[in-house]
């Protein structure tokens, strides 16, 4: 696999991880504030984090493909 492909692959993973972990912390804090039980809040925040990390990956890839001339 070409090096540039590996870098792009890792960059998508990084975006997903950063958004996922970030959203998990934000979502968990928000749900706790709303008085949701700890374990239920964790489950819900985890699900939301996965969803938004996938949306972030979609937006990131579309943005990068659309400005591919700058990125590649």
């Amino acid at each position: 696999m070409p090096e540039s492909s590996i870098i792009r692959f890792l960059s998508v993973m990084a975006v997903m991880l950063v958004v996922g972990f970030g959203w998990f912390q934000i979502g968990l804090a928000r749900l706790k504030k709303q008085g949701v039980d700890e374990s239920a809040a964790r489950t819900q925040a985890k699900q939301e984090a996965k969803k938004y990390s996938i949306i972030a990956a979609f937006l990131y890839m579309v943005a990068m493909v659309s400005v591919a001339g700058l990125f590649l």
């Binding site: 540039s4 996938i54 990956a57 979609f58 890839m61 590649l72």
Partner: protein, 291 residues
């Protein structure tokens, strides 16, 4: 489950045709997609201690669609990695079949476009595998939709991705799905209607736009995924119209990266963008309960 096997059957004629016109290299790419998608689903479910559901056929459909959505010039490992990514990130992370936000095959294809852009080109001519431009590239370069015989496009004698070459066989497969009531026919009907109107407004032959790129495979097989398309008729019409509109805008004004790749087709972006609106369309157009 029946629907997924129906989908595999419906795609088989077009897949066999592509193997016939492009040779064994097409088979290698299709198998790379199917094997990687099924294996990725099985391994992920095993590692996360879920029930292994590869027998439902949905992963095989994803792999087949992705294998058919790449060019013959693409290395097999690019197809495999993209299929595995589509299955894991596009489907399994959110809980698997029925819980996914995006069509996994299209999500895998976006990943392929992003990670392996330099492996897309060159497009190859059927049979002799000579380097050739697709009809949509010809349109972009010349500004005219003429030049490529419509019948050749319809029968599948044009360069393009492995699975998009034969509109005829794809439509036969889609007719089977409609006959068995496996797909939401309103989605492709709306997409084709929008393409027809826009082509007529532009003064071009609509048949060119129907058969030139991946509209048929995208609108009939990818946009109709029951898990990532709207449940209700009005929502389906808007979803399909959105797919048709984005495809046409991409064909006319798609991104251009000189020397790298020129986006003359937008099925991937159209389907994935409209997937984002599905929860909204399902809420907005939910029929009122009968009294």
């Amino acid at each position: 489950m029946k629907m997924m096997y129906g989908m595999l059957m419906a795609l088989t004629p077009a897949a066999l045709w592509s193997i016939y016109v492009f040779g064994p290299q097409a088979l290698v790419r299709i198998l790379a997609g199917v094997v990687a998608a099924v294996a990725a689903e099985a391994v992920f479910q095993k590692l996360t201690r879920q029930k292994i559901t590869v027998k439902d056929g949905s992963a095989a459909v994803t792999g087949l669609l992705l294998g058919m959505a790449v060019s013959i010039s693409t290395p097999w490992y690019a197809v495999s990695v993209s299929a595995a990514f589509g299955i894991i990130a596009g489907k399994q992370l959110l809980g698997g079949f029925g819980k996914n936000l995006f069509n996994p095959a299209m999500f895998g294809r976006l990943f392929y476009l992003f990670v392996f852009p330099d492996s897309i080109l060159p497009w190859r001519q059927p049979f002799d595998l000579a380097t050739a431009a697709t009809p949509l590239e010809v349109l972009r370069e010349t500004g005219e939709a003429a030049g490529v015989p419509i019948l050749e496009m319809f029968l599948g004698l044009i360069p393009g991705t492995i699975g998009e070459v034969s509109s005829l066989l794809l439509l036969i497969g889609f007719s089977f799905l409609v006959y068995r009531k496996f797909v939401r026919w309103r989605i492709p009907a709306a997409a084709f209607s929008v393409v027809l109107v826009l082509a007529l407004v532009a003064g071009h032959n609509p048949l060119f736009y129907f058969f030139a790129g991946s509209l048929v495979v995208g609108a009939c097989f990818m946009a109709t995924d029951p898990m990532t398309s709207p449940k209700f008729p009005k929502g389906q019409l808007i979803f399909g119209a959105g797919v048709g509109l984005i495809i046409m805008l991409m064909r006319w004004y798609g991104w251009q990266t000189p020397g790298v790749y020129e986006f003359t087709e937008g099925t991937t972006f159209a389907v994935l963008t409209m997937n984002l609106f599905v929860p909204f369309l399902n809420r907005k157009f939910k029929p009122a309960p009968k009294r």
